[in-house]
Symmetry: C2
DNA sequence: CGTTGTTTTGAGTTTTCTCAACATGTGTGG
DNA sequence: CCACACATGTTGAGAAAACTCAAAACAACG
């Protein structure tokens, strides 16, 4: 299920770095260019006009909101092949920031939508991608609304494991603060959850940003059982 | 902003009960029929095949997930004109249940997507609707991840006020339990938040399900300030 | 090798939850 | 129309989870 969602919920790049999957897709890449950002640089800000949408070519990007008092909610992390800046109408709803050094392809928003709408095949693909995205967001709602701290962290680790397609030497590309802001927790609570799982023998840490899953069964159990 | 989002984020019914807004839209209503449900009846269940998507003709419907231990997360409430059952691929991710007596129009899922994809105009409209939906879901993520109890309740009341387009005699069509499950709280906490706002003179209650906003300024303040 | 930023741990506080009791409302049959 | 029963909503007290603030350990970097 998670695999199917991943495959169909995003466009992906072929070897040349262009959009793959459909004959019409090449048209999308016309008049686009790739921009590079250093770690920590901002792609766009909440409230700005949104003339572009973006696709990650390399690196990892986060999209977040900031509340008045400085609390942040990280909507999502975007890896290679994923589109961002799409959920908005005329104005960006999130701030996007490069976590690592990265490169993104910029699409003119209106041109992009027009091209997609003019091809039934692209339309359908794109609709399904959006629905998949919606699906992912909805799953996160359950997490934020109904799961306890350690459960949220466990779910997040399983997602990392899936994305990196391994249970060994899994890498956090983002800080504890980013993870906390993504999971609706504080950094301290994330740390305590990780420590707890380390103590229980579920995880083994190489460094703070590199770990392996030693007891996948238990991790799944933690991810599915509340407090 | 909220108004623009509402208008553009959903298809709406014209007087005959068919889809309006585009010349091609009529094609969508072909081969569809309207089904009625009593309050509390289930439209579809999490995990079922998803051959249809639905549009509310009258009444109000909730879409939710249930976790192993019985906790529920209400993804959203759907009023007249709104589409549901769309976020999923082949299988329903949520259970949908009529809150009040209601009528819904059923669209064959594949037929619906094919028709939409074949019309650039419909495609574009639909894309924007989906993005608007995504937007709404994302806003809820901030709420669930970063807002305290009374703030969540205040935000929810403001949404009701907007939807019903008044600050007087606003009606809860759903139970406290539904509200709690929507906001990621318990019924008790929802009650306490409402009582607190009543005490502060922000709200006045006619009955448990009918209230007026007496101090809109304060309500907005509560909705925007944490703890 | 010190400086700076990130991660981890600890102690005490706050918020929300749980469980239990009570109140209010709604609907049905007498 | 009333009385009862059952569902829904409200309040209180104590427990649990997560948060805040502070300090210590650890890493990365010049």
């Amino acid at each position: 299920m998670a695999n199917a969602a991943q495959i169909s919920s995003e466009f992906h790049f072929d070897e040349e770095g262009g959009l793959a999957h459909t004959p019409d897709a090449a048209a999308l890449a016309l008049n686009t260019n790739v921009i590079r950002f250093k770690a920590g640089e901002t792609l766009y800000m909440e409230g700005e006009a949104a003339p572009f949408c973006y696709q990650v070519v390399s690196g990892i990007v986060k999209e977040y909101n900031t509340l008045e008092d400085g609390r942040r909610q990280v909507a999502d992390f975007y890896g290679v092949g994923e589109m961002l800046g799409l959920s908005e109408m005329e104005v960006q709803l999130h701030t996007a920031e490069a976590i690592t050094e990265c490169a993104v392809r910029c699409y003119g928003r209106d041109q992009f939508l027009k091209t997609v709408a003019s091809s039934p095949d692209l339309s359908r693909k794109f609709l399904e991608a959006l629905m998949g995205r919606l699906h992912r967001t909805r799953e996160r709602m359950v997490m934020l609304g109904r799961m306890c701290a350690i459960q949220r962290v466990a779910v997040f680790l399983l997602r990392l494991s899936q994305e990196q397609n391994t249970i060994n030497d899994i890498r956090f590309q983002m800080s504890r603060q980013d993870i906390a802001d993504h999971l609706g927790l504080t950094t301290e609570t994330v740390c305590r959850a990780l420590t707890e799982m380390k103590k229980r023998g579920v995880l083994v840490f190489e460094t703070a940003r590199l770990f392996s899953i030693h007891d996948a069964r238990m991790l799944h159990e933690i991810a599915s059982k509340s407090a």
